[in-house]
Subunit: 148 residues, 2 copies
């Protein structure tokens, strides 16, 4: 089994292609994939607790707080004390951030629309079925439970 | 369209699950997913030019050279001058590296075997078909060529 024939190689390669594409597209608007993801994960009206963003995005606290700092400097977000909990902070979109969020959303919708239209409903259902089952096998620790 | 309903979210999540699983498994043998990948990409007998490893693994030169340095310190590899080209270096596996490469290979084969056995031939063919088509759409720049 060559590395380029494995399932993991193909999933990794595809994710890397998508990330590269999103970074290129975000670059046209002065952003990165990471800033786009953050914008999309902030509640448009009510803002989102900064502590909730990391888990939502599968990102470590140190990377995330560096990105949030940059985004604040760029005027995309503001951090305000949470009125319901004085110890935590809420991240709000600025008007500029809301405009950029719209562009990020369009980029994601565009990718998902073009891809969906390239396949039949059955093909997409099968694809998601395989993806979900792989995740189940991993999270239920079925892969390395006993050597074959 | 919520982030968790997008195709990219599912591919990213699955890749992150696989990476976490491989890192955990490699940890049992004192390694990481990255060292395992390097071991698997070095020719068992003839060694591999260090300049060829980065492109093969989709890894940047700086990250790779840090990993190679660590692996040399751990006695997994040795770097020797290329007899055919005095300016480049060949990375060779030590006997210890060859032993660890075998363990890395077993981990990859185990994952791919368990996953393959969970699906029919048709399901896997469809899955790879979708993955390849997504890569084609991206590399042929079909996603953002014109706004829908």
């Amino acid at each position: 089994m060559k590395p380029e024939e494995t399932i993991d190689f193909h999933i990794k390669k595809t994710w890397q292609s998508i990330a590269k594409m999103y970074n290129e597209e975000a670059g046209k608007y002065g952003g990165t994939m990471a800033t786009g993801y953050v914008l999309l994960n902030i509640d448009f009206d009510k803002g989102t607790p900064s502590t909730a963003l990391g888990p939502k995005m599968g990102m470590e606290a140190t990377s995330l707080s560096r990105i949030l700092k940059n985004m604040e400097d760029q005027g995309l977000i503001v951090r305000k004390r949470n009125p319901q909990d004085g110890r935590s902070m809420l991240v709000h979109l600025t008007d500029f951030g809301k405009e950029k969020r719209k562009q990020a959303k369009e980029a994601v919708v565009q990718f998902n629309t073009v891809v969906s239209e390239a396949f039949s409903k059955e093909q997409m259902e099968n694809f998601f079925g395989v993806i979900e089952k792989i995740n189940d096998l991993i999270s239920n620790r079925k892969i390395y439970q006993e050597k074959i």
